[in-house]
Point group: C2
Chain length 741, copies 2
């Protein structure tokens, strides 16, 4: 696409333009007929969203549709409409767009499938479609989508069932699977979670997920953004949108499917095996501070917490329940989420004590028991309410989890009781709003909010989470979001010093790249030269081509030594028998030399550069520091336990590159094996690993400049001793020709 | 308790007696008054369960209670009742029991708290209470409980709210937290999951969780058993009950709280750190084939699947949906549960093809799309129904997951549409019942089953699971239960050969036990003697007390060698500097000897037995094989990656002892590090580890016979080379005096 065309498309999907698009005041439904199920849905959705503007069927052969007068074509409209919902088959859509342009319509939804999702021809058709829309200045949603609804603007050009009642609220939603929209709305309805705008994205020919995120960031009704993602086709745009959401304090909660490892392939470098597609996506989402959830319930429950409640800003939780069993479940779930339940302050204990029965223990988590609830009904407030009154002032707590409020299914027929409940909920709403710390209400299990509950709680600002399990996961998600804020905005640029270093060695690297093999693994000697040029610490080594030379090298380097075959065709040297370790005498070196040479013989056509002699290292911890270049997300750094442990334990931390030293230190801290690094110079280690990452980025750039690319650069093991950090083995791989991009 | 008394108590809680207890035809409520909230609940619960028998309030001061005529004492009853629900305060309960006995009452529920849960005095009171009941021949539930309800027998002496309607069904429930009962019933009600008997266990003074399990195993209405457990106080009885449930094909699904690691302590042996309390519980539950779940929703959803649907017997799942997004979510969740989604058989593809639109791909998982649903409404069956018709005959599938059936919230006002739905659901019910493989229906998310849905589906035998997330977890649980069947019944006896071996060496072991330290770690030489007596493979070693002797020993054993200090006061030799490795010359041995001796000096009062000299071993894999003796569950075997990796990686598999060789082989297979063992003699390794377990059991027995016990016996590392398995280090610890049991 030319940059002019690109600029034009971007103006058609700007937040300002989408604000207009997602709040149409008049809609035409093109292709609607009495026998079209889709049209029936759209007309029903208009009623469900209480759409009050003109809704005009357009059909060449029908005078009326569902009782409404139809026009034969958009060109026949008495006045232009804001939006055309086009239900025509794919081959007719372009003509309809022409009609729409002629009629002054600025927005269109295309329902038809048979575009990019159906193969090569469809892709061409889709490109023509979006070009045509762009040329006409029409903003286009779809194709292969089911429309959208905007609960606040009361607009719903939406070809699916809308579960009633549709509650307007703070949750904006964009879905790459349209059929899930009804499912999402049904759960939201059942749990009194209000929606702002819900968009089915379809094929994203023009409006993309990133565009909708940017619109929702600007949308005043939206406080939190939910996504269902099958793929992230443009990570750069997506990252920018996520950064804006983070800056605006609007959390993104996303289901990203495709986590099953079925599609992952074996790779030459270990890094490829541990940095699989889904692990890279996961790393990217974490970097962008997008909360990844695994199901619709968790997504909406997390969104409800972030959209309605005051957000918790610390991990110290006070827990108030009227059941010991609930306390136990909460404690276990909190532990799984890393949420603390510290003891109450003495003043809190003193304040709560009068309101619980003598046999109850005042402690966090608190079980007020059902005693007083069963034994008096004269005051509106119950024991748990008095406990809340005290706990919100506890200086040791960041927030309070309040179990309930428990309510009967329907308004009690006894007026006195019903009034007491009204009074209690009123008090609770005020107390929660005025509390010095956030109060999060939670139901015991995931059951629907009743009509009575909704009417009583919603307008008091009370929105209990859907059960202890989902509730604690939502709180964990909210805390992770809070703690991750700013991460998405962290500068992606590396310090200038590195750039200078790079410049000084650029010539060397260019030389290496020029003489490197076009595809496949580099000879290790060449890889060592590259890292040496960048000043990275490596075990000393000499390349020899005879047993005598090996003995001489060993004498210079100091016994015992290790030998390894050096051949681009034998990347897995150990498995091939091309490595001999701990050779302590000249004789052992001679024997070892013959052995590793012999190992190369079965490899047909192997070009042997020689045998590397290096002093034997023992002890210390062996790490992996590797970079693999993902087709969509770019270079990804993997740090983990190295040597034989990499793939067995998969104890690896990943980051999109570039990273700074502090981030690498955090990566090391995330490893299960982190305790093994105690006593080592972690700063120095983090610096070395950061430089390995920089080296990969630099090399990838140089390779791309010469028409190739980096596949992976891996140091394994990177040996970490008490006073020495050294690369023992280095593997650099460029893509085979079919992989080249 | 004397054995006669024990026999009597057991007869009061036998399944036959509990069958009578849990189906009372007449109930007295002792202590009921119009101002008692508990009594109000009990009378309401009687109505909710449609209890039709006499329900008599007993109160010394009231003539009527809630409008019913009261009697002053149980002795004044005109006819004996089956059950007395005693709400009197703790101090009055024993007198009420006397009254009950006099009135011929055979069952009692005690609500009062202030018993064992409140400390020493309460424990004595509780013992008196159960003794009194036993002496009277009264079966007693509680104290500190809220009663029970039996939906099939229409009886509910139950002091909590019963959410309506109460649906009778296959799920038996026993809860150690009474207040959760309403919560459990509310979720069951909302999701149309029917209950048989629900019991709040209270303090289990007489009726225990194990007794209720045995009753539910006998109960014909119960097909699956749900438990909420705070503790398992009598593992032996519990295990026996679980074995019966397994034998009867009635799965047990349990929440066991206390999984947060707060309470776990540092321990001398590594095994203690990795075999924490909750890990042992987890191991025990797995052994008994009890499905452990983490929340109420998962418990009931799993129970609904196991109680209503035909149970899946294999992991190959066919998936039928009308949404690509649902397919994606299902694929991810299935992958997490280890459930396969194999390709359809070609015949299945051919049979389905005519019923999906041309642009849909017929593959497993299948998305039939909403196309035909939106575009025709003349036949009762939709595309997904036709797909079901074909998929159930696919020879490559073990079961089919069917998304839906999707239904409107209420019966559609158009009769034609409502009739079509009736017809469709009727067909589905028949097809599911007649299918060659189980068909599991699942809703998209966890929302309530509507009144319309319940009336339509339940009597057709259709019980969709509560959402994809819970549904897939339930299926995973059901498969684990199926695969674990028989495990609970596996003989606990070890092969006779071992017993013979043990007998032959019993004298040696008795000698060792007699001369061992009374508490704390054994000297390693002694530990080596024990394992030698049992024929376990150990690295050769000599104990020396001078540098010269060390050099001589090293010459005999072969250079290089390892030295380690041998002292009961220095169990963590490496950390103390008491180990020197890889000593290749006489000089190095001399220096090493001085160094490890010097390491002992700072340990005040350390009694040094000498220094062990052993040949240095390198290469191979280091494992941990350790046994720790749990106070409640007895000896527990831990197998994992050893050396420095144990606590860092916690890659450990646990089992209650004894185990057989096949089970140890399975333990090895469970390790993340299992691939590291490829190429080693796994049979021989499993045999050695089995013998280490046997050694610990034998030693524990001998120690107990002499008034002590085993705390832990640990081989770490157990070195596994290509052709040699050897214990390199052995630690045996007996409890300190305060720990002794």
């Amino acid at each position: 696409m030319s940059s002019t065309a690109l600029t034009q498309v971007r103006s058609l999907v700007s937040p300002r333009r989408l604000t207009e698009f997602f709040a149409p005041r008049s809609i035409a439904v093109v292709g609607a007929s009495d026998t079209s199920g889709w049209a029936r849905y759209v007309f029903a959705a208009a009623a469900a969203t209480r759409f009050s503007g003109p809704l005009v069927p357009v059909h060449p052969a029908h005078e009326t549709v569902f009782g409404r007068p139809a026009v034969p074509s958009l060109r026949d409209l008495a006045a232009p409409v804001d939006l055309a919902f086009i239900m025509a088959p794919a081959q007719a859509v372009e003509c309809v767009l022409d009609d729409a342009a002629a009629a002054g319509v600025r927005g269109a939804i295309v329902l038809a499938s048979g575009y990019a999702e159906s193969g090569q021809e469809g892709r061409a058709l889709e490109q023509r479609l979006s070009d045509r829309a762009a040329a006409h200045g029409i903003t286009l949603l779809g194709p292969n989508c089911l429309g959208f609804l905007n609960a606040h603007a009361c607009a719903g050009p939406f070809a699916l069932t809308v579960p009633l009642p549709l509650l307007p609220g703070p949750v904006g939603i964009a879905l790459q699977s349209g059929a899930l929209a009804s499912v999402v709305l049904a759960f939201a309805r059942s749990h009194a979670i209000g929606v702002s705008t819900l968009v089915t994205l379809g094929n994203e020919a023009m409006i993309t997920a990133a565009d909708v995120i940017e619109y929702l960031v600007e949308d005043e009704s939206t406080r939190v953004i939910c996504l269902f993602l099958e793929e992230i086709s443009d990570p750069v745009r997506f990252a920018a949108a996520a950064r804006q959401a983070d800056l605006a304090g609007k959390p993104i909660v996303a289901i990203k499917v495709g986590s099953s490892p079925a599609g992952q392939q074996a790779a030459l470098a270990h890094t490829g095996a541990v940095a699989g597609d889904d692990a890279v996506v996961d790393t990217a989402l974490r970097r962008w501070n997008v909360i990844r959830v695994r199901g619709i319930e968790e997504m909406l429950c997390t969104a409800a917490l972030l959209g309605y409640a005051r957000r918790p800003r610390g991990r110290r939780m006070g827990v108030l329940t009227s059941s010991g069993g609930a306390c136990d479940i909460i404690a276990d779930r909190a532990s799984a989420e890393g949420i603390e339940i510290p003891p109450f302050d003495p003043a809190t204990v003193t304040a709560i004590a009068p309101y619980v029965p003598p046999f109850a223990r005042v402690a966090n988590p608190l079980d007020v028991t059902g005693y007083f609830l069963a034994n008096r009904r004269t005051s509106a407030l119950t024991a748990i309410d008095h406990a809340l009154d005290a706990a919100v002032s506890d200086p040791g707590l960041d927030f309070v989890l309040f179990a309930g409020p428990a309510l009967p299914d329907t308004r009690p027929p006894e007026h006195r009781l019903a009034d007491l409940i009204d009074e209690r909920i009123g008090w609770l709403g005020e107390r929660v709003a005025a509390a010095p710390i956030p109060v999060i209400c939670v139901n015991s299990t995931c059951v629907d909010v009743t009509e009575y509950g909704r009417s009583l709680l919603t307008h008091r600002g009370l929105h209990p989470l859907a059960g202890l399990d989902l509730g604690l996961r939502a709180i964990g998600n909210a805390l992770r979001w809070h703690e991750g804020r700013g991460r998405a905005r962290a500068t992606a640029a590396r310090p200038a010093a590195t750039a200078t270093t790079a410049a000084a060695t650029a010539a060397t690297i260019r030389d290496l790249v020029r003489t490197a093999p076009g595809a496949g693994p580099w000879p290790e000697t060449k890889a060592r030269e590259l890292l040496a040029a960048l000043g990275l610490p490596m075990v000393p080594a000499e390349l020899v081509t005879s047993a005598d030379a090996a003995v001489e090298a060993a004498s210079r380097l100091g016994f015992p030594v290790a030998l390894k075959i050096c051949s681009a065709q034998i990347p897995h040297k150990s498995q091939a028998g091309g490595v001999a370790l701990g050779l302590a005498t000249a004789d052992q070196v001679r024997t070892g030399y013959q052995a590793v040479r012999a190992a190369a013989e079965p490899v047909a056509g192997a070009s042997i550069d020689g045998v590397l002699v290096a002093p034997m290292r023992t002890g210390g911890i062996e790490l992996l520091a590797g970079v693999t270049v993902d087709p969509a997300f770019g270079p990804v750094l993997a740090v983990g336990l190295g040597g034989i442990w990499v793939e067995v334990l998969a104890d690896v931390s990943l980051r999109l590159l570039p990273v700074d030293v502090a981030e690498v230190a955090r990566m090391l801290g995330e490893l299960r094996g982190a305790p093994l690094l105690r006593g080592t110079d972690l700063d120095a280690l983090a610096r070395v690993i950061t430089e390995i990452g920089d080296a990969a980025v630099l090399l990838d750039g140089q390779l791309r400049a010469s028409g190739s690319a980096l596949h992976s650069l891996e140091v394994n093991p990177l040996r970490v001793g008490a006073d020495q950090i050294e690369a023992l083995d280095i593997l650099i791989v460029t893509p085979s020709r079919t992989e080249s991009r």
